[in-house]
Structures are given as structure tokens and as C-alpha cells.
């Protein structure tokens, strides 16, 4: 029984040896993880700026339109690729490696190689982004980086992924925690995805509509089998860790993991409903998308039952506030995704801003929020310093949360109206453009809120690295806890 309990708890031991061991692991991970975090935040700022520029251009088409590299069709994919590969993947790798180290209880050896991998990864993202802006994109969504930049990313990734798997191989004996399943799976799935997509789409392009199938098998799986497992691994770690209580159910964890692996991997074709493909492929993806209710509800119950009776922690723990909002958004965005795959609804929302709203809710509301939460937990342990300003954390939270909520609301409502007009054969095409126009202005305003949130976070992060302010006794909290015993170091 005690061994089963161990498997539910991310780190049950609190004795002095365990503390020293954790400090040793954190020291070994410090440089590479911080490298991924710092470069990730830099890409987040650039990516947000590119996104904002794209948003403005949809309302003011003549804004900055004289140079070819600033045209909408180049800035928009540059936005997507910098936030996907520059921000989300970098921070995900940083969080993933740190969680692997802590959960496997092994210090990182030969960290020079991991640092080199981080530098190569960033060079690849920079080269690819320049390639897109210079007009080298092949216009395959999520894979716009030119063929001479993607191998750089793959080499960097190979070094990182091998490290994750080796860490797992040399883990200390004991139970394997649910976060480790997700991380191991993500580290194995990503290279398979990326290699397949690169070979079949860029280096040896396949014929015609096969490109579409491979493209969305890749695009959707990057979300579902790379970002989602990392986000869930982090939530599965942070929630019980901050609360100091085990995850609700081992069996639900297991069901959630395997059903995600099976159903999510088949989702891709729901991006091409009505497209030039055999009907069974589309049907399989529609069914798999609806079946996603199983892993999503399972994980939601598991997280909710773990949180139950402890929601007051959201008032003072920055880690938990970001992570729980992210986890709740995961449930919401997945429900929405399942419904969007139903053909009659898809016929309206497909090809509209509604889809853009869904994508941002997933990658920002769920993944990015979860990663912010993880960073609020991890960075103090790497830097040996507490966050210098609770006020800045609050600003960061409320700007991010209100920005994504407003963006989602504007794109969802505007996109739905746009879809109704697009499907009405009686009205001219331009009606669909006009009806969504005011919502696009609101979206741009929401983008400004997000940009502001990221600037606040970037400044706070720099202050943290410089160890600004006075040394604090306990962790930086957003409010004073109601009961004194919660102010353990694990917040």
C-alpha cells in the first residue's frame, strides 16, 4: 500500500538527505534550464510583436506594407513559428528536463552538451524565422521554416530528447510518477513527428493532397503529443506538490494517459473536413476527436479531486494560480475542440477566426499559462532567490488572463458570425469580411494586453536573475495565507 501511495506523490520525502539531493539536482540543471527559459522569453516577446503586427494588418491592410518581408503572409507564419518553436518548445523543454531530473532523482551529467543543444536550437529558430521573412517559406502550416533550417532544429532536438530518455533510464529505483510517463512519451513522439513531416513534406515532397494529410497529422500532434503532455506533466507535478497531498487516483491517471495517446494521435484530419481525402480518414479523425472527451474528463476529475477543499491556495500561490487556470482551460478547450470536429458545426467554423480563437485558447490559455506556473515554481530553486515582486506577478497574471479571455471571446463570436455569412449563398463574400472587422479590432486590443503581460514578466524575470530586492525568508505569495501551516517552501 505504501508503495502505491509513493506512486501518487511527486516527492514524498522531506528528510535532510532528500533535500540535499534535490539541491544537487537543481544545481546541475541550473544553466541549461535557465538558457531555455531566457531564450524562450526573448522569443515570446518577438513572437507577440509579430502577432500584434499581423493583427493590426487585418484591420489596416496598408500598415507597414511597403517592404516584402513585412507583408502579412510572411509576418503571420513568422509569428506562429517563433511562438511554437522559439517560445513554447523552449520553455517546454526547460520545464520537461527539470521535471525529469527531479522525478528521476538524477543529477544531469555532461550538461555542456545540453547547453550546446539549446544554443543550436535557438540558431535554428532564428535561421528559420529569417528564412520565412526573406520569402523562403513553403507555406506548409506549422512547417514554414525552410528546408535548410529544419535539420538544425532536428540535431538540437536529438541531443535534448536523448538526454531526457537517458535521465529516465538512469532514474533512482522506485515508482514512476504520472508526469514521467507524459514526458517520456513527449520526448519520443516529437522526433518521430518532426522527422516524418520533414522527410515527406520538405526534403522529399510527396504528391498533392497527401501533403495535407501529413501536414495536419503533424500540426495537430505537435499540439496534442508534444505540448499537451508537457503541460499535463507540469500540472500533475505542480498541483500535488504545492498542496502537499497526493494525486487523487492512480488509475484515472493511467486511463487518461493511454486514452490521450490513442485518440489524440488520430485527430489531425478534422482540420480537413470536406477536403480531398477518402471519407474514412476524415471520419476516423472526427470519431477520435469526440473520443477525446475520455482523456479530458479523466484528467479533469483527477485534478479537480486533488484540488478539492484547497481552492483557497489560488489566492496566494502564483504557481497554482497559473497552473490551475491552465488545467481548467485544458478541459474547456478540449471540449470545444471535440465539438468543432462535428461536421455540421465544423461547416460553419472552418475557415474562420473561430479556429484562430480555439488555437490561442489551447496554446496560450492552457499551455502557456501552465508553463508560467511551472516557471514561478522552478526558477527560485535554480537561482536561489525568491521572486522580487508579488505586485508584478499579479499584474502578469491579470494581464495574461484578461488578454486571452478577451481575445478568445472576440475571435469566437466574430468567427461564428463570419462563418454564418460565409455559408449563406445569398450574401456576397465581402459581408463576411465586414461582419468580423470590429471583432478583429477587439482582438488587436487583447493582443496589446498580452504584449504588456509579457513585458511585465520579462522585466520580473530579469530582476529575478539579478537577485533584485531584499532576501526573503519564504516564497513570494500573492496574498497572506489564511492558515500559517501552508507557508511551506513548496509554494
Amino acid at each position: 500500500m505504501s508503495s502505491l501511495l509513493d506512486s501518487l506523490n511527486p516527492a514524498p520525502r522531506t528528510d535532510a538527505i532528500a533535500c540535499a539531493e534535490r539541491a544537487e539536482i537543481d544545481r546541475s540543471l541550473r544553466a541549461p534550464v535557465l538558457l531555455f527559459f531566457v531564450s524562450g522569453i526573448a522569443w515570446l516577446l518577438l513572437g507577440s510583436l509579430l502577432g500584434l503586427l499581423s493583427a493590426v494588418k487585418m484591420s489596416m491592410p496598408h500598415f507597414l506594407d511597403s517592404a516584402d518581408w513585412l507583408t502579412f503572409g510572411r509576418v503571420r507564419p513568422a509569428h506562429l513559428n517563433t511562438v511554437i518553436y522559439g517560445w513554447a518548445s523552449s520553455v517546454g523543454i526547460g520545464v520537461g528536463i527539470w521535471l525529469m531530473g527531479r522525478l528521476c532523482r538524477v543529477a544531469l551529467r555532461h550538461r555542456g552538451l545540453l547547453i550546446a543543444a539549446g544554443i543550436i536550437w535557438n540558431m535554428g529558430v532564428a535561421a528559420g524565422t529569417i528564412g520565412i521573412l526573406a520569402g523562403q517559406s513553403r507555406s506548409i502550416e506549422w512547417l514554414e521554416f525552410p528546408g535548410w533550417a529544419t535539420p538544425v532544429l532536428f540535431i538540437a532536438y536529438a541531443l535534448i530528447g536523448v538526454w531526457g530518455v537517458i535521465m529516465f533510464r538512469f532514474r533512482q529505483p522506485g515508482h514512476v510518477y504520472v508526469s514521467q510517463w507524459y514526458l517520456l512519451a513527449a520526448f519520443l513522439w516529437f522526433p518521430w513527428l518532426y522527422a516524418t513531416a520533414n522527410v515527406l513534406l520538405i526534403w522529399h515532397p510527396v504528391q498533392g493532397s497527401v501533403v495535407g494529410a501529413v501536414n495536419w497529422w503533424y500540426g495537430h500532434n505537435v499540439l496534442g503529443l508534444w505540448f499537451t503532455p508537457i503541460g499535463l506533466a507540469s500540472a500533475y507535478y505542480m498541483i500535488p506538490k504545492v498542496l502537499g497531498r497526493p494525486v487523487h487516483s492512480y488509475y484515472l491517471s493511467m486511463l487518461g494517459f493511454w486514452s490521450l495517446a490513442l485518440f489524440y494521435s488520430w485527430n489531425g484530419m478534422h482540420h480537413l473536413i470536406g477536403g480531398p481525402f477518402p471519407a474514412w480518414m476524415i471520419s476516423a479523425s472526427v470519431v477520435a476527436s469526440v473520443m477525446m472527451f475520455i482523456p479530458v474528463i479523466t484528467v479533469a476529475i483527477n485534478h479537480h479531486m486533488t484540488m478539492r477543499g484547497h481552492f483557497d491556495y489560488l489566492k496566494w500561490s502564483p504557481t497554482l494560480r497559473f497552473t490551475v487556470l491552465g488545467a481548467m482551460t485544458y478541459t474547456a478547450v478540449s471540449f470545444q475542440g471535440s465539438l468543432m470536429a462535428i461536421p455540421s458545426l465544423n461547416a460553419i467554423t472552418h475557415f474562420t477566426d473561430y479556429t484562430i480563437g480555439h488555437a490561442h485558447l489551447g496554446l496560450y490559455g492552457f499551455f502557456t499559462m501552465t508553463m508560467f506556473g511551472a516557471m514561478y515554481y522552478i526558477v527560485p530553486r535554480l537561482v536561489g532567490w525568491e521572486w522580487p515582486s508579488a505586485r508584478m506577478i499579479r499584474w502578469h497574471f491579470w494581464l495574461s488572463a484578461s488578454g486571452i479571455a478577451l481575445m478568445f471571446a472576440a475571435l469566437t463570436l466574430g468567427g461564428f458570425l463570419q462563418g454564418l455569412e460565409l455559408n449563406d449563398p445569398e450574401v456576397s463574400f465581402i459581408t463576411s469580411v465586414q461582419i468580423v472587422a470590429p471583432f478583429r479590432v477587439v482582438r488587436t486590443f487583447a493582443g496589446i494586453l498580452l504584449m504588456a503581460a509579457h513585458l511585465v514578466f520579462a522585466v520580473l524575470f530579469i530582476r529575478m536573475l539579478l537577485r533584485h530586492g531584499e532576501r526573503r525568508e519564504g516564497p513570494t505569495l500573492l496574498a497572506n495565507p489564511a492558515s500559517p501551516e501552508v507557508s511551506t517552501p513548496a509554494v
Binding site: M58, S59, P61, H62, S66, D68, T71, F72, G73, R74, R76, P77, G135, Q136, S139, E141, F168, R169, V176, W181, L184, L188, L200, L201, V206, G208, S209, V210, V211, G212, V214, N215, W217, N221, L225, A261, S265, W266, H271, L272, I273, G274, G275, P276, F277, P278, M281, A284, P343, H350, F351, T352, T355, L422, N423, D424, P425, F429, I430, V433
Partner: protein, 206 residues
């Protein structure tokens, strides 16, 4: 779940089902389609001309795909055909000459599956790319002026020069001419006519 080999193999096997179904299967089934030969119309779809192929690259480089789809969905699912995007649904064979095809996921702008049928005029397409608002008022398409040159008029002037009046007109003594890239792009756009009959596509022939 502590047995590493089981976890490892499970992770890979479950994932490989989708790889077989959504990657390997379409590659084997759709990856080697041939055009249809008819005595009356020759090869259908017809291969792209060299200029249209070069224009395909210009289309990719400037990200037209982020606003324009190129797929007509079937009538049981959508109103695409009634809306005028094409006389029939598009099928896999329509895209065999394009690597990659630009199926697209957005319609911030109109579908372009049959733009060569709807707007067959070269001059219209040049003007539209130079300043979309002139020919389609209210358009939010960016102007692609970097695909054109403004040059002094010599002699009779260039035969390709755009006829532009109003505030977007070039200064007196100057003319706007398309660059090679603009010519290729328009050649590609004019080639987009997915209205020929195909046995698997159904629908009306033109």
C-alpha cells in the same frame, strides 16, 4: 506502471497506428495518382506551365494560403458550390501537380480553387495585386506593390503597364509594370481552373 519496456513499447505502438493510418495509407493510396486522359480534352488536370510553377513559389513565399483556401467542399456538407467557389467538389487528383498544394485553412479572402475561371483577365489580376481596393472595394488584402516597378515611360511605354487612375496612379511620365514574380504569380492564378470533369468528382462538367 514501472516496467520501462512496456511503457516504451506502448507509447510507440499506440502512436504508430495513427502514423500508419494518416501518413502511410494516404501515401500509398493517393501518393501516385495520374491525370485522366480523354480524347477531347487531353490530360486532366493539365500540368502547370513553367511560369505557373514559378508563380506557385511566389504564392508560397508570400503566404497567400493564410487567407485563401483552395478546396471546394461537397454539397452535403457545405454551401461552397452554391456560393460559387466551384462547379464540383475538389478531389485528390486535382492537386497532383502541386508540391505542396495550397488547401488552406482560412477564408479571410475568397477561395481560389477556380480563380482562373472567375477572374480570367491578366490586367484585372495585376491591378488587384497592386492595389486591391481599386477593383474590390472594402478588400482587406495587402497591396503587393513590391511585386511591381514604377519606371519612367520610354517611347510607346511597356505593353504590360497597369492602367491606374486616381490617388494610386504613378506620377506623370511614369508607369507601373509587373516584375517577373508578379507575372509568374498571375500565370499561376490564371491556371487555377478546377472545373474539368473527373470520374471520381461527380458534379456538372463546364
Amino acid at each position: 506502471m514501472n516496467r520501462l519496456p512496456l511503457l516504451f513499447i506502448g507509447i510507440l505502438i499506440v502512436f504508430s497506428t495513427s502514423w500508419l493510418g494518416l501518413v502511410a495509407y494516404p501515401y500509398l493510396k493517393l501518393g501516385h495518382l495520374q491525370p485522366v486522359h480523354t480524347a477531347k480534352n487531353g490530360e486532366q488536370p493539365a500540368p502547370l506551365s513553367p511560369a505557373a510553377l514559378a508563380g506557385h513559389n511566389v504564392y508560397a513565399a508570400n503566404g497567400c494560403i493564410y487567407c485563401h483556401s483552395q478546396q471546394v467542399r461537397p454539397a452535403w456538407l457545405s454551401t461552397d458550390i452554391e456560393k460559387g467557389w466551384g462547379p464540383r467538389q475538389t478531389v485528390a487528383r486535382d492537386y497532383i501537380w502541386e508540391r505542396p498544394p495550397f488547401l488552406g485553412t482560412m477564408r479571410s479572402g475568397p477561395d481560389l480553387s477556380n480563380i482562373g475561371v472567375r477572374q480570367p483577365s491578366t490586367a484585372w489580376n495585376y491591378e488587384h495585386l497592386y492595389e486591391p481596393d481599386i477593383v474590390t472595394p472594402g478588400s482587406i488584402m495587402p497591396a503587393f506593390r513590391f511585386l511591381f516597378r514604377v519606371q519612367p515611360i520610354r517611347g510607346q511605354g511597356s505593353p504590360d503597364a497597369l492602367i491606374i487612375r486616381g490617388p494610386d496612379a504613378p506620377p506623370a511620365g511614369y508607369e507601373v509594370v509587373p516584375t517577373e514574380e508578379a507575372k509568374d504569380l498571375v500565370a499561376y492564378l490564371l491556371s487555377l481552373k478546377r472545373n474539368y470533369p473527373l470520374p471520381e468528382a461527380g458534379g456538372k462538367s463546364p
